[in-house]
């Protein structure tokens, strides 16, 4: 089972990387989201999941019996939320970029990337 999960994590990450290599910004965004999912699975594989019992202490007991690795779960939980936040932020940036440039092509990111013309006055810092 571990090998299978390892395979899945690796495959998801590979597919995600392929998407990130694309030139469409939304695909890149989705690829990054997928990548974080893949890493989460990886963290999951890193934890001990030999038991299917949730890490919830049964009412009346003092300590956790046989259960899945709670620490790994806590880490993944954090990672999920962070990945979510990043995905959403990136989505927002992509939308803003689309609004201002009208392009989703990563190659157009650098329209203004050439050494800028000294004549172009940038607005002053207020």
């Amino acid at each position: 089972m571990t090998i299978l999960y390892a395979f899945c994590a690796a495959a998801i990450m590979g597919a995600a990387l392929y998407m990130v290599l694309s030139r469409n910004l939304v695909r890149i965004l989705l690829g990054l989201a997928l990548l974080s999912t893949g890493v989460n699975v990886m963290l999951f594989v890193a934890g001990d999941f030999s038991s299917r019992q949730p890490p919830l202490i049964r009412a009346g007991e003092k300590a956790l019996g046989e259960a899945a690795d709670p620490l790994a779960q806590a880490l993944i939980l954090t990672a999920i939320v962070i990945g979510f936040a990043l995905t959403v932020v990136l989505a927002t940036i992509v939308v803003t970029g689309w609004r201002s440039s009208g392009s989703l092509d990563a190659r157009d990111l650098d329209a203004a990337e050439q050494p800028d013309d000294p004549e172009i006055r940038e607005p002053h810092a207020d």
Partner: protein, 89 residues
């Protein structure tokens, strides 16, 4: 109890696969979202079965959570669809 759960999981996986297939294949966006609904139902089923397998009612919380959140996703999908004529292939 977990013996039957092991067996019942299989058709559920099949259902998951079928829903997933429809979700990916489309052909129209509406098809995908219909499949998404299906996916939710299957996931709730999984939650129930896991609860039985482990003997922990905690997994029913997951089912509840799923039911709660998924409706919102469906609604978002629907609104998306109304807005985006000819979405899909």
């Amino acid at each position: 109890m977990s013996d039957i759960v092991d067996w019942l999981e299989l058709p559920l996986v099949a259902a998951l696969a079928l829903a997933g297939w429809r979700m990916v294949r489309g052909p129209s966006a509406a098809d995908r979202f219909v499949a998404f609904d299906m996916l939710t139902a299957v996931a709730v089923g999984f939650a129930a079965l896991t609860a039985v397998a482990t003997g922990r009612a905690a997994f029913l919380d997951v089912a509840l959570g799923l039911a709660l959140v998924n409706f919102v996703a469906t609604a978002a999908f629907a609104l998306f669809l109304e807005r985006n004529d000819g979405a899909g292939e």
